[in-house]
């Protein structure tokens, strides 16, 4: 591997890409900190959870577990259900993480929706090491998340302005990533499959249970349409390969 510059350069290059996540994570992190603090846990606990767990919906759900008599089996089951979509994320990163050595474990640990999505719209500058760049994105995102949850737990009720709706930054981020990949690819079947299957499953299964059926539909459609999709993909591989 060629040496392409150190961590400082990688972090500087990665930071601008993470600003949308900074906005979003600070505020949904604050919301988590507030909720957890209301259960009687101070900011050190909020930080501990955000360091050890690092999952948005997973931690929101977990707040409900801190009651007498909770079953650990139920904890495991519910957390798997809320996070099952992440099982599929690694499939796209098997090769990119392959040579990351010690960092690989952290890259897998920190694979949130937002970090995963950022990996697919960021253009890595030529003078920056790709592995360090991806590591920088992952670590910066988690720092925002930890900071948000700490602020929420310390001073969540003291936020000086009405921040209602600021969590839309996350929605906007995914919309932007969606548009970006739409404009840079010729083959729109995968994107439409995700959008369509999500919408249909949401209508059928409701807001709390639609992710697993959606992922199953997506897999079935993508696998059964492989002959149609793959030739189109080949045409753009050359552009994606670097």
């Amino acid at each position: 591997m060629k040496k392409k510059g150190g961590y400082a350069r990688a972090f500087r290059a990665a930071f601008p890409f993470t600003i949308p996540v900074l906005t979003g994570y600070l505020f949904i992190g604050i919301a988590f900190g507030v909720m957890y603090q209301e259960k009687g846990y101070n900011f050190l606990w909020a930080i501990l959870m955000s360091v050890m767990v690092y999952a948005g919906s997973g931690q929101y759900l977990a707040v409900n577990f801190f009651t007498p008599g909770v079953s650990l089996f139920q904890v495991i089951f519910l957390e798997i259900m809320v996070n099952i979509r992440h099982v599929f994320y690694g499939l796209s990163l098997l090769e990119r993480f392959q040579n990351m050595g010690k960092k690989k474990l952290y890259m897998i640990f920190s694979l949130t929706d937002e970090t995963y999505s950022l990996f697919f719209i960021t253009k890595i500058p030529k003078d920056v090491d790709e592995d360090k760049f991806m590591f920088a994105i992952a670590l910066l995102d988690q720092i925002y998340w930890i900071t948000g949850s700490a602020i929420g737990a310390i001073a969540g009720s003291l936020i000086p302005f009405d921040a209602t709706g600021i969590d839309f930054a996350m929605t906007a981020l995914f919309v932007v990533i969606f548009v970006e990949q739409w404009l840079t690819t010729k083959n729109h079947i995968p994107a439409l499959t995700g959008l369509g299957a999500g919408l249909i499953c949401l209508l059928i299964f409701g807001a709390d249970n639609f992710i697993l059926p959606t992922m199953i539909c997506v897999m079935v459609v993508l696998l059964s349409c492989r002959k149609v999709i793959e030739p189109k993909e080949e045409g753009q591989v050359s552009a994606d390969a670097n």
């Binding site: 009651t67 600021i166 919309v175 949401l202």
Partner: protein, 110 residues
Amino acid sequence: MPISPQMSFLIILVVSLTIFATRAIPFVIFHNGKEIPEVVKYLGKVLPAAVIGMLVIYCLKSVSVVTFPFGLPEFIAVAVVVALHVWKRNNLLSIGVGTVLYMFLIQVVF
């Protein structure tokens, strides 16, 4: 604290390991050195676009189109983000304007 610190820590640990497991499964199945089947490579290539489409829906899952304001703030804000992004291709601009617009819509207009 409703339960003991030890039990609280145990819960965090269990949640942590469970979440990590969901993220680690593909890497365990196709660990280093093992040939990645063509079909998995194919899925890895086409899944991100589908997952991002799903995540857009996921973010909007709690929007009700049958009760006031009928999802209008979300619809308007998403439309503006899309239009702005197609026009300027600037991530921060699209997300910033969209978010401020959305906050204005739900705090002031609706």
